[in-house]
């Protein structure tokens, strides 16, 4: 170690580096982008966390939120009164809104507001004053995105239920909610005072009653939570509450996941860069064997000689990390634009010292880690090599054991770092294993390629082709390096692309000719007939028209759901116990359902338990088997049932599907609403249908499936843009690695090319030889990467999305062509000095 700090080592390091500056820069440039990605994301995450911490009260808009799914009973309202503080109330539910201006309608998220919510932060509108006035002048606030979509302006009107209101402002920001929320359910605020006159609060609608509190005395919320828990028990209703702290954690977690994912993508870029550094340093050190040997001849110790190059690696790594860090800090300012739609807060960007430290440390670390192998090998180089040049690669001097240890250390470091980034050992391990497998496969292909080309060498080909092909396996070839870096880059980018393609295709089902595309729900029994008539008038087929009864699970196998939920030893999922079940009743199964176990009974017996059919998914979550007893609470009336059968349901069909299916003869008297599924031949008819239904039955909601698909498309587009932006780092790194390994090989091939020139090869021939080599490398690494990504996407589809993946051959073709073209182009550009300068000039200049 002492020789690392000796002045002589540093002086020699500098002397050796000064004439190689350009070349050394190429070596480290590969890590710059990777470090930049890490720093940008870490810094952005840091800023985001700080912002969330600073604005935590604004995220909830209050100190406490209490939510119930039914109008709070008197006991609860009187408790609210007792709590005091400042209070506000929001009644929130989905409903159609209609814009009479052009007759457009859209399912929206209606919020009837009473009081001064939000207490913290603000509801931002254009004009700003509208946010406070709309309650007193009885107007509505409408999501800006929705207004833009339908060409609505402030002053136009909106019909909510029975009421038509003037729009006094466009909502631009609701505290604690991301802009993307408007894509899912556009928000419409109305004054609470007119809620009843909309006539939208009816039985069966899904309504959330939210009560907001602001306590200026900074009181302890724990006793309130305890009291609410006991009220929940005694009143037998669901009471959810949320404090600022809880909201902050919730949002922090969601945002954290996004950050972790982006960080991982950035880390891949860094790893790619590491590979680039490794291969360049390897070649570089290989060329320094003679120098090292000469120094050894004159008395330098093995540590002294190694220190010279160790210092170079550390300093260069640090400089690369520094450049990457600076670039990353700059890039940070681009990130908010990419993801701001998904963030509930406006991020206040700060320069994060954590990110800077991390960037400098990891950048230097990666450069050093990947330089370790050749550096350690250099210690083993003997002074003898000054007498007789060594023909092998320098790393062959290391024992197998040393190599295994170094690889192990690198793998462990990668795993540790990935786990640190994702805060999950499992993900870190899976990531590392995935990378190892990809590496292994790419290496295998590279080695196999070299063996194959050698074995089946086409000796009858022309000289240029033979020479180019032979370059793939000759000593100091770049096959392995380029296959790894290009193949891995290709793998990443195309996996992203394929996954997106796969998801998009899956969503295309709705454009099929006969698929349903319009769903009406919340239809009261007395409206059902009328709606069917409207559909008939417009020649829209009633594809499905089913009754729906809401119920809750009361007990399971004789144990109360409350009891099971509290029992941590059961495998039953909590949400499945507490959720509201919307069930239908029929006498037969339909085409999207297949019986898996038990027997389907279509008619309930007159007495005794009712045989119900459970969908496979819910049966798994509730751990149900055929014959298990269930008790449902159908809006106050208990119904004793048992699992008669378990069936598979194709949930991807556009139609209402049910977890619990009842036979006929039980639920008919229960309060119910209807769902109707139809297909409108085009958007025009679809709009007309919705309009006529909503005009006549304001409480009925419609889902335009094509609209939803559009929304999902937009959503995926936005997300995948963010992901692609990150993948871009990998691509750019891949290209830099490509450029640097081409540059590296140039130094190796220089003498040879010059020799060829000297003995009479034309520029054209040399160019051709090089392009043949890059052609093969490009095609093969692209294909390998693509094939691996097909596998990866297939697995992703199978295990994660549950979709079978059919690859788009066109993409494969274009991908291969683009990568190959780029490889040749960069290869040629980097080798230009070989054919542009005179042989002697090249020898004099580049031989050092």
């Amino acid at each position: 170690m002492s020789s690392f700090f000796s002045g002589w080592s540093w002086k020699m390091a500098w002397r050796d580096a000064r004439s190689n500056k350009k070349r050394l820069f190429v070596y480290i440039s590969a890590i710059i982008i990777g470090v930049a990605a890490q720093v940008a994301i870490t810094s952005f995450r840091d800023s985001l966390n700080t912002t969330i911490d600073n604005q935590s009260k604004e995220l909830l808009g209050a100190d406490l939120e209490i939510e119930t799914e039914q109008a709070p009973p008197d006991t609860l309202t009187s408790y609210f009164k007792k709590l005091g503080g400042e209070q506000a109330q929001i009644t929130e539910f989905p409903s159609m809104v209609l814009f009479p201006k052009e007759g457009n309608s859209r399912l929206s998220n209606i919020r009837a507001l009473k009081g001064n919510f939000p207490f913290y932060g603000s509801l931002e509108t254009i004009p700003a004053a509208a946010a406070s006035h709309f309650k007193s002048d009885t107007t509505a606030l409408v999501d800006q995105a929705l207004m833009t979509q339908f060409n609505i302006e402030v002053g136009d009107s909106v019909k909510v239920g029975r009421l038509t209101l003037a729009i006094s402002g466009a909502i631009t920001k609701v505290p604690g909610e991301a802009a993307a929320a408007s894509m899912i359910g556009p928000r419409v605020f109305i004054p609470h005072s007119i809620l009843d006159s909309t006539n939208l609060i009816q039985r069966g609608s899904r309504i959330e009653y939210k009560q907001y509190f602001k306590f200026s005395d900074g009181r302890d919320l724990d006793p309130i939570e305890t009291k609410l828990d006991s009220l929940e028990e005694s009143l037998a209703i669901d009471i959810d509450y949320e404090t600022v702290e809880e909201r902050r954690e919730e949002i922090g977690e969601a945002v954290g996941n996004l950050g972790k994912f982006l960080n991982l993508v950035g880390f891949i870029a860094l790893l790619l860069g590491g590979i680039g550094v490794a291969s360049s340093i390897h070649v570089y050190i290989n060329q320094k064997i003679e120098t090292a040997s000469v120094l050894r001849c004159f008395g330098a110790s093995s540590n002294q000689t190694m220190s010279i190059f160790l210092i170079q690696a550390v300093v260069l790594g640090f400089l690369g990390a520094l450049a990457g860090t600076i670039l990353g800090i700059g890039l940070q300012y681009l990130l908010p634009g990419l993801v701001s739609d998904f963030l509930p807060v406006t991020v206040e960007l700060t320069v994060s010292w954590l990110a800077i430290g991390l960037g400098l440390f990891t950048g230097t670390g990666v450069a050093l880690a990947f330089a370790l192998l050749p550096l350690l090998a250099l210690r083993k180089s003997s002074p003898l090599y000054a007498l007789r040049t060594i023909e092998k690669s320098i790393t062959s001097l290391l024992s197998r054991k040393t190599k295994v240890i170094i690889y192990f250390i690198i793998t462990l470091t990668v795993m540790g770092y990935a786990s640190l980034l994702t805060e999950s050992l499992l993900i870190g391990t899976v990531f590392t294993v995935g990378m190892l497998v990809s590496f292994g496969l790419l290496l295998l292909v590279a080695k196999g390629l070299m063996i194959l080309v050698r074995r089946f060498f086409p000796s009858h080909w022309t000289y240029v082709w033979r020479q180019g092909l032979a370059n793939l396996y000759r000593p100091h070839n770049q096959t392995t390096t380029l296959m790894l870096s290009l193949g891995l880059g290709m793998l990443l980018v195309s996996t992203l692309y394929f996954s997106q393609d796969m998801l998009m295709k899956e969503l295309d089902f709705a454009t099929r000719e006969d698929a349903p595309n319009l769903i009406f729900f919340d239809i009261q029994p007395d409206q059902n007939q009328g709606i069917n008539e409207i559909l008939n008038e417009q020649n829209a087929p009633v594809i499905q028209n089913v009754p729906m009864v809401t119920m809750r699970l009361d007990s399971l196998r004789g144990r109360g759901t409350q009891e099971i939920a509290e029992d941590t030893t059961t495998e039953v999922r909590g949400w499945a116990l507490r959720r509201e079940y919307r069930s239908t009743y029929r006498d037969s199964l339909i085409s999207s359902e297949t019986l898996l176990k038990g027997e389907w009974i279509g008619q309930a017996p007159d007495t005794g338990r009712v045989p119900v059919s459970a969908a496979k998914e819910i049966a798994e979550d509730l751990n149900l088997s055929v014959g298990d007893f269930l008790t449902f609470d159908v809006q106050g009336v208990p119904i004793e049932a048992y699992v008669g059968s378990i069936r598979e349901v194709d949930f991807q069909r556009v139609q209402p599907n049910f977890f619990m299916l009842f036979p006929t003869g039980v639920l008919e008297p229960a309060p119910q609403i209807y769902v109707t599924v139809t297909r409108a031949p085009n958007q025009e008819v679809s709009a007309k249908l919705q309009q006529s239904v909503v005009r006549k039955y304001p409480n009925v909601s419609a889902i335009n499936v094509s609209r939803i698909l559009e929304t999902i498309n937009q959503f995926i587009d936005k997300i995948s843009f963010a992901i692609q932006f990150m993948a871009l780092f990998s691509i750019v790194t891949g290209l830099i690695v490509l450029a640097s390994s081409v540059a590296t090989s140039r130094f190796q091939r220089i003498k040879e090319s010059v020799l060829l020139r000297t003995i009479g090869a034309s520029k054209k021939q040399i160019l051709q030889i090089l392009s043949v080599e890059y052609l093969f490398l490009g095609i093969l690494s692209a294909l390998t990467g693509l094939i691996l990504s097909l596998g990866a996407t297939g697995l992703l589809g199978y295990f994660y999305f549950d979709i079978t993946f059919t690859p788009n051959l066109w993409v494969i073709f274009v991908g291969t062509a683009v990568l190959t073209g780029l490889t040749i182009l960069i290869g040629m550009f980097n080798s230009r000095s070989i054919y542009k300068k005179t042989p002697l000039e090249v020898l004099r200049k580049e031989a050092t």
Partner: protein, 239 residues
């Protein structure tokens, strides 16, 4: 002439494995060289001269036998300890020059002294003097690729001299030089021997140079074929 042997070679054998057959390059070579002697090693190409020189300087380990430099057997020493011995006592001029390509002529010459821990400002003057002596006064800042073969050889010789070694091994020191420069270098070498008592081991094809030495060791097929003391007037004079 001193009485202590500076170099002792006993039973030195070097074999290389070339695939399945063994190539014996040096075959049980024995000799010793007294301090302050000028000794030349001659022999046809491929006879093992460079190999012998490398072993004597501790650059490689023999298959069999022992080399002692200045009374210290090299066998038990590890690589770093040998490097130290070389730095203190040995100079080496390579057949292929072996200048460090990224260092200037001046820096190449300074390396051995810098390795001893001396500051470059201290040694720069000595290096400059040496380079002037070999006729490269205006080439200090040139890189090896910017020098001719003969100039590179002269830098290599200056580098070998700078630590005033007790023993200097030179593999074809004048092989690439014209007669005039060659004899300049020869004078330099003999000068060093005269003023500092440096022992010289010269590998050469140049019979006239060999004739100027006190002793000629002739190698053939890895064996010492003839080991004779020269009685030319010049050699006589040196004694």
């Amino acid at each position: 002439m001193g009485s202590k042997p500076i170099l002792e070679v006993t039973n030195l054998t070097q074999q290389f494995n070339n695939g399945d057959h063994k190539l014996t390059v040096l075959d049980h070579v024995d000799f010793s060289v007294q301090e302050e002697t000028i000794c030349s090693v001659v022999g046809p190409s491929g006879s093992g001269k460079t190999t012998l020189l490398g072993l004597c300087a501790g650059l490689d380990r023999p298959t069999l036998g022992e080399v002692s430099l200045n009374g210290v057997p090299l066998g038990p020493l590890n690589e770093d300890e040998r490097a130290e011995v070389r730095n203190k006592h040995v100079g080496f001029v390579f057949q292929t020059f072996q200048l460090v390509p990224t260092l200037t002529a001046l820096e190449n010459v300074m390396v051995p002294l810098e390795l001893r821990g001396r500051r470059s400002s201290e040694v720069q003057h000595e290096a400059e003097e040496l380079l002037k002596k070999v006729g490269l006064a205006d080439r200090f800042q040139h890189y090896p690729t910017q020098l001719s073969g003969g100039e590179q050889q002269r830098v290599a010789i200056a580098r070998a001299f700078i630590n005033e070694p007790k023993i200097l091994f030179a593999d074809e020191p004048t092989g690439n030089l014209d007669e005039e420069t060659g004899s300049k270098i020869e004078d330099l070498l003999f000068d060093l021997n005269r003023s500092l008592g440096t022992t010289l081991i010269l590998v050469t094809h140049d019979l006239s140079l060999a004739q100027q030495c006190q002793r000629i060791i002739r190698l053939k097929n890895g064996k010492i074929f003839k080991d004779e003391w020269v009685t030319t007037p010049e050699a006589e004079q040196l004694k």
